[in-house]
Every structure is written in structure tokens, then in C-alpha cells.
Symmetry: C2
Subunit: 342 residues, 2 copies
């Protein structure tokens, strides 16, 4: 019963096949300088014994571990799970694995973590919503670390590879949808103003209004300052107590939209009859609340997959041509929007 389970090594496979370990290694790694019959023989033995190369040994010898670190703030579960699952799946297809490193709140730890993570543990990393400044990231890159930023929080300088969603275009779609329904007084509840997501969505909002020939009223744009429900409630209350309140609110994420709906309800307004609300993100909760939320879907899984693709390319060839990828967003129309009351 004490099967100590000492795993089968390349040595044993080699002996069994009557070849050298070098040959086994070549077969396992798909090199092409092996004769067809040797290859088949070795492959059969490998299969029969369920041999897989010891990753530590491979890591030591070849300098690549097949592990990718993912630094992600666990505070946004609904958001990060999409990215993670996309990334994990894409990595799996390359026989690589994902090492999860939750970046808690403490900033100072973060930059050191990338560093530590890389050393002898992972070949590269995905940084999701990093706190780091562009400068710090640039420095990491120059030190030879290989990573891709997913959904940068601050604008990035040229050479840092990144994947993000088409914030502006998504915001545009949202506003156009509301315009199409006949709304003219369309408010915006924005997130923290130093986030790329906020700035780009704001740009999209203004652009859409502008090309419909509408001047955005400054009092209709309120800064929630965060992404949480409570902030959404508060911002919406400000909007709804205006002398001439909006007939529609575009909230810059789903949480804020939920807050807006709550604020409306507590004033006796019903959504969407008296007020239309659009969110952004399309997290799971969007379909849980009533009415189900019209919102802009971020392609989270796809972002994860794309980030992996970029990173692997980065690791293979040393030079990286495509630096920044922006993935399309799409408006999902549900029940929280309708033509204005009048």
C-alpha cells in the first residue's frame, strides 16, 4: 500500500525503448531530427507509461517553466473570472499552466511580485488592472520580464503590450441606443476619473451625443468616484433631483447601474418606464436584477485568450510587433431601457 509512486523518468523510457535519453527528449519535444520508426517506438512507450517530463527539470535545463503568472486583484470577482477562464483555457492548449497571484491592496508588494514571480517560477505574466505606473512597467520590461497588461488602468506608453476593450465604441453604442429610443437628456455616471476605462467611455459618450447634434449638458455628467453600488445610488440621486432630470442614465459599469436603478425605485420611478438605465461590463449580476440590465458587454474571456496569445508570441520570438490589441464591445439590449415617458 506504500506505493511511493516514484514517477517514471526519461531515463527509464530511454532504457525501455533502447535509445538514449537525448532521443526520448527529442521525440517528446517534437524535434524533427528523429527517424520515423524510432519516433513511433518511443511515442508508444511514452504513452504506455504515461510519461510526462518533470517540469522542474525542464525549467532548470531549458530555462522555461511553462508557467505563466497572472496578477489579478481579487476584489472584482465577477470581472476577473471571465478573464481567468479565457486565459487558462488558452494556456492549456499550449500545455502551459497559470499561476495565480492575487494582488491585494498593498501596492508596494505588487511590483516586487512581478519580479519575484518571474524568477525561476514563470516565463511571463499577465497583469490585470495593474496599479503600476507606465514608468514602473517600462522598467520591468527592460529588466527582461515578459508580460502583457490586460485592461490597463492608466494610459500606457508605447512599448508595453496590452489588451483592452473598446471602451469608447461601447459607450457610443450605448448612447446611440438611447438616442434611437428617443432620449435627449442622457446622463452619465462615470467611474474614477483617472482610469482609462472612465476617460474612454466618456469620450465615446460625448462623441455619440455630438454626432447627433446634441450638446452634452455638463450637469448631466456626474463622477461617482468609484465603481460600487453605493456610489451609483448617490450619483443617480444627484441627477434625479435636478430641476430638469435626465430621462436616461448611462452608468459606466453595472454596479453603478444597479445603484441608479435603486435610486430611481426609491423615488417611486420605475425602470424603464420613467427612466432608462444602461450599464457597462455585462457581469453575471446584470441578468439577476429586475429589470434585466441593458449593458455593454466586455469580451472578458476573449481578452484573456488574446493576452495569452500575445504573451506566447512575446516569449517565442523576442521581438513583438503588435503591441496593443483592442477588442470589440457589444451592446446587449435587455429590459432596462425603453422610449422616454412623455
Amino acid at each position: 500500500m506504500v506505493s511511493v509512486a516514484t514517477r517514471v523518468t526519461i531515463r527509464e523510457i530511454a532504457d525501455l525503448a533502447g535509445v538514449s535519453i537525448a532521443t526520448v527528449s527529442r521525440v517528446v519535444n517534437g524535434r524533427d531530427d528523429v527517424s520515423e520508426e524510432t519516433r513511433e517506438l518511443v511515442q508508444r512507450i511514452v504513452r504506455e507509461h504515461g510519461y510526462t517530463a518533470n517540469r522542474s527539470a525542464r525549467g532548470l535545463s531549458a530555462g522555461r517553466t511553462g508557467l505563466i503568472g497572472v496578477l489579478v486583484p481579487l476584489v472584482h470577482p465577477a470581472y476577473f473570472s471571465g478573464i481567468l477562464s479565457g486565459a487558462a483555457e488558452a494556456l492549456y492548449e499550449h500545455d502551459m499552466r497559470l499561476v495565480l497571484s492575487p494582488t491585494r491592496h498593498e501596492h508596494d508588494r505588487e511590483v516586487g511580485m512581478v519580479d519575484r514571480l518571474m524568477h525561476g517560477v514563470t516565463d511571463g505574466a499577465l497583469l490585470v488592472l495593474p496599479e503600476e505606473s507606465s514608468d514602473e512597467l517600462e522598467r520591468l520590461l527592460e529588466q527582461g520580464n515578459r508580460f502583457v497588461v490586460v485592461d490597463p488602468r492608466s494610459p500606457l506608453t508605447g512599448s508595453i503590450p496590452s489588451v483592452s476593450a473598446a471602451h469608447a465604441s461601447g459607450a457610443g453604442q450605448a448612447v446611440e441606443h438611447l438616442l434611437g429610443l428617443g432620449h435627449r437628456r442622457i446622463a452619465a455616471i462615470t467611474g474614477p476619473h483617472d482610469w482609462v476605462a472612465t476617460e474612454d467611455r466618456l469620450r465615446g459618450y460625448h462623441a455619440a451625443l455630438g454626432s447627433a447634434g446634441i450638446m452634452a449638458a455638463p450637469e448631466l455628467v456626474v463622477d461617482a468616484g468609484q465603481w460600487e453600488i453605493a456610489a451609483g445610488v448617490e450619483a443617480a440621486e444627484r441627477l434625479l433631483s435636478l430641476p430638469e432630470p435626465p430621462t436616461a442614465i448611462f452608468a459606466f459599469n453595472d454596479n453603478l447601474a444597479v445603484g441608479a436603478i435603486r435610486a430611481a425605485r426609491s423615488r417611486g420611478l420605475s425602470v424603464p418606464e420613467d427612466l432608462s438605465v444602461v450599464g457597462f461590463d455585462d457581469v453575471e449580476q446584470a441578468t439577476v436584477i429586475t429589470p434585466e440590465l441593458t449593458t455593454v458587454r466586455q469580451p472578458l474571456e476573449e481578452m484573456g485568450r488574446m493576452a495569452v496569445t500575445l504573451l506566447i508570441r512575446l516569449l517565442d520570438r523576442q521581438r513583438f510587433e503588435t503591441l496593443h490589441v483592442e477588442l470589440a464591445t457589444r451592446l446587449v439590449v435587455r429590459d432596462s431601457t425603453a422610449p422616454p415617458a412623455s
Copy 2:
């Protein structure tokens, strides 16, 4: 710009400190057979150069990689993210890392994955909600794999270490709460009947009713067969169209509870005035819906942490006396419950 960034090795630290690599290794690993002054000298140099042991090398040499795998079905994001973040944090405190392996739908892959994961990659694993039968798990254990099961889906036989939530006690609390409000016709919407979670919660439900001297009416227990919202809607509709409908529903998870609320609302019943609803899990969504859901909180983070504790004990060969840990659940009273209409 081609700073190849060759990391500092133990060799260099040793040279710098004028000692052998063996001594550096001892210091770094906190062995006690090093003189105080040598230790301090080495520690200073290590700190100055930011040296960390290459994990691949350590893994090869010592047979331990400091990585543990977590097999988790990514289909339940709200649920797993709590466990993951608890586990990751606990691991971090032991300077270990978490390798994420999403177990998609394909069952056959799962058992092989544990196996593959262990070999030269991780020292052990956490299996969250495994599909495997107790027998298969037992076999894995005997092959020398070290793992802890988190929230077993099927009942486990003796020797498999596991962490789970106090399903029965939580269910009891929920029912007692409803009884305390004055409810007598309390229905249950159960999950898939072969899950431990379902069976235990059912046991708690019956026990609480029983000790209040109430015989559970069989027609008040309906099997949703899954954990999704749609199933909850359907089950609740069956309950509400009974000749003598319940005044309260205990749904076996939050999704089902959301479904129940929807079903009630679409019949013109309002929650909690006409119908009380209690959920189970306390996922993020519970606070998003209106009314906010009264529900039984599972200590997800704590489960993750505890699983790590158990696993690390298992790896250290400190023989483990406690095989199965059950963590307490706690009723969180919010707005979806109230005294019956009378």
C-alpha cells in the same frame, strides 16, 4: 536595451559573502546550524541583491516545487472566487503559489489532470467540487498524490481529507428563522439530489421542522434538479400553484432563491410581504437583487484557507489526525423574509 537580465544565483551570493553555497542555502532555508554572524552577513547580501532561490532548481533538488494545483470548475464564478482568494492568501503566507487548473466539462480529463498536475509541477492539490467518485479519489491518494477535497460533491470515504461547510446546521438556522417569524408552511427547493450539499441541507430542513413539532409536507419539497435560476423559477411556480401554497420558501442556493423571487413577482406576489424567501451561499448577487436576500453564508474564503492548512500539514508528513473539517455557516438576515401575511 538588451539587458538579458541574468538573475543572481546562489553561487554569486556565496562568492560575495565569502562562504560556500551550502551555507547560503542553509541561511535562506532557515536552518539553524549557522553562526549568527554568518547568517546576518549572508542575509544582508541576499537582501541587497534581491536574491530568491530559483524554484525550478529547488524543485528538482528538493523534490518540492512550492506550487500547489487547484482544480476548480470555472462555471461557478461567484462561488469559486471566494475559495480561491482564501487559498491563495494562505499559500502566500507559506511562500507557496497556486496553479489554477480549470476543470471544464470533460470528465475523463479530470482524473488524468490531477495526475499530470502532480508530476513535477505541484506538490499537492486542492480539488474543488470534484466530479470524481470516492473510489477514484482513493486510488489517487494511494498512488502517492497529496490533495484535499473542498466541498465534496459526493460523500467521501474515510481516508480522504476534506473541507466542507456545515450544510445541515445552516439549513437548520434558515428554517428556525422562518419558524421564529411565525411561518408554518415552509417549502424547500432542493438542488441536484446526489450532491452532499443537497442531502445535508435537506436533513437540516427536516430536523428543524421536526423539532418544532411540524411534519414536513411532502408536496412542499420540490427538486429543482440544478442550481440555476431558471430551475428555481420553475420549482417555485409548482409550489405557488399548490392548493395550499407555502408562506415561505427555503431555496438551497441563491440562484434558486432568485428564481423563486421572480416566480413570486410574476404572480403579483411581493417578497417578503406575501412570501418569504431564504437562500444559501451568500454570493455577491444576494445583495444586488431587491429585496436583498436573507441567506445562509458559506465561509468560502475560510474554506480555502483551511484546505491549504490541511494540505500543508499533509505535505509536511506531520501525520494528520483531523481528516474532515466542517466549517460553520451563518444565517444573514436581510430583506427577503418577514412574518407571514396572516
